[in-house]
Amino acid sequence: MKDPYQVLGVSRSATDEEIKKAYRELAKKYHPDKYADNPLADVASEKMKEINEAYRMVTEERKRGGASRSSSYGSYNDSYSSGYSSASSGSASYGGRSRYEEIRVMINSGNFGAAETALTSIPSDERNAEWYYLMGVVYYQKGFLSDAYNYFQTACRMDPDNAEYQSMYRRIQQQRTGNQGGYNSQGSAPACDCCDICTCLLCTDCLCNSCR
């Protein structure tokens, strides 16, 4: 068993506040939502469990230590299940419905090769939003990120009301903006160069003329 303080990355003399802060940061880092559909989701959830356990141990130890503790910060619980709920709207035909469910089972068990072959065997005129979504998931796992993005985009366009597709698509867009790594080119204030200043002055001058 690892030292819980080490897991949280704090020293033994850290205050409760510091520990809470460290815990929150780690929990954000390894949050299951971030790793949804990632092939490493299970590793991340293991890590999360370890952090939760360490935090619980540290707080309990400190409580027993007698000092006043009011921190009952609820730990993130592991209600996260990596399984796909197939509670999506019944827009698919009956035959297609069970087919996609089978594919979801394949994806859940990590059998992506089989899922991909099953998906590609579906003729193109029977492909609906769910097909594009599942194909996106398979490509995302494989690391074909650009194709995955296109598939998710198509899935969202075909079925804009589906929350599952939307959340995935939003997550990927977040990644593309560079907020989670990489370079965010849009994060800058609007430019104000010489030309802008000049134009501004000219406009003001025009207004002055009209006022006179």
Partner: protein, 307 residues
């Protein structure tokens, strides 16, 4: 395809920077010792990163010594003197990759370039044989990578498929750094994203040149739009790869060299993206050194004055 994985020097502490330099110099020496003096010229930043990653996962300790640089005897430098496996591996990879890069140049370049590459390859062949003997699996993987790369380029594949061979190669390289099953899986994903990122930034960097010379480039298919839009698209594609890479990296627990590796992953990647995609093209006239410095400061201010 080399030299994109670098720390942002200004963000490192002095002792971290010294350590980084000592790994670089240490790797150079190890190359000379293990694979022959000529292979020292294959030294690259990327292989330095690989050496650090390998040493970090194997928990190898570094012992820094002082010595004179063979190529610049006036300069005394610190270098990492270890007999560890990490440096040997990184050196071998460096030689193998350089050799295959030359072979690649031989198959698809003009007459003079081809001649030069042939000549260089002859010099490198001794070191290559040694590296091949030490790491036959890496050599085989590199050979396969070049083959599928050429195939993908001939087919004119899209972004994902053309990045796949490099990504798979790096994935293989990283995966074999550990014996633990869980770590191997994380490393495999990390390597895949890293290889993909390297391939794509190289492609984005060469885009203008490739358009001019009508060479293959995965981004050409999207470049009908104006160049500003293309730049944003390339950047977005790289961002997505980088965030996947970071997710995998956060599950690794590098022991030594942690600060330097963190710097590369969190700052180095984004700095390179900004530098290669948004800055380089407009500033061709300026001197390299000034440019780098200026780029860094505009990078710090997130470029609000000039984008």
């Amino acid at each position: 395809m080399f030299g994109y994985l670098r720390p942002v020097r200004e963000e490192l502490k002095v002792r971290e920077y010294e350590l980084y330099k000592s790994v670089y110099c240490g790797l150079c020496r190890r190359l000379g010792r293990d694979y022959g003096i000529i292979t020292r010229f294959t030294l690259s930043y990327d292989c330095t990163v690989l050496a650090m990653l390998a040493a970090s996962l194997r928990e190898e300790n570094s012992c820094v010594k002082r010595g004179r640089c063979r190529f610049n005897p006036m300069k005394k430098c610190m270098f990492c003197a270890t007999d560890g496996e990490a440096m040997h591996l990184a050196g071998g990879v460096s030689v193998i990759m350089a050799y295959y890069k030359l072979s690649d140049t031989i198959t698809d370049s003009g007459f003079f370039k081809r001649l030069a590459a042939r000549l260089l390859r002859v010099f490198l062949s001794g070191g290559f044989r040694r590296a091949r003997k030490a790491y036959p699996d890496i050599e085989a993987a590199a050979g396969k990578m070049i083959e599928s790369q050429q195939l993908a380029e001939r087919k004119g594949s899209g972004i994902d498929e053309s990045a796949d061979p490099t990504a798979k190669m790096l994935s293989f390289l990283c995966e074999r750094l550990s014996d633990d099953e869980m770590t191997r899986r994380v490393l495999s994903r990390f390597g895949y994203c890293l290889g993909r990122w390297i391939y794509l930034i190289d492609a984005a960097d060469d885009l203008e040149k490739d358009i001019k010379h009508r060479c293959f480039n995965p981004f050409i298919s999207v470049t009908e739009a104006d160049s500003a839009e293309t730049a944003v698209f390339c950047n977005e594609t790289l961002n997505m790869t980088a965030s996947q890479l970071i997710m995998a990296y956060e599950l690794l627990q590098p022991v030594s060299y942690r600060e330097i590796l963190d710097n590369i992953v969190y700052h180095g990647l984004s700095f390179q993206q900004k530098h290669c995609i948004f800055e380089k093209k407009r500033k061709k006239g300026r001197k390299m050194k000034d440019r780098k410095k200026k780029d860094y400061y505009t990078f710090l201010s997130r470029g609000d004055e000039d984008i």
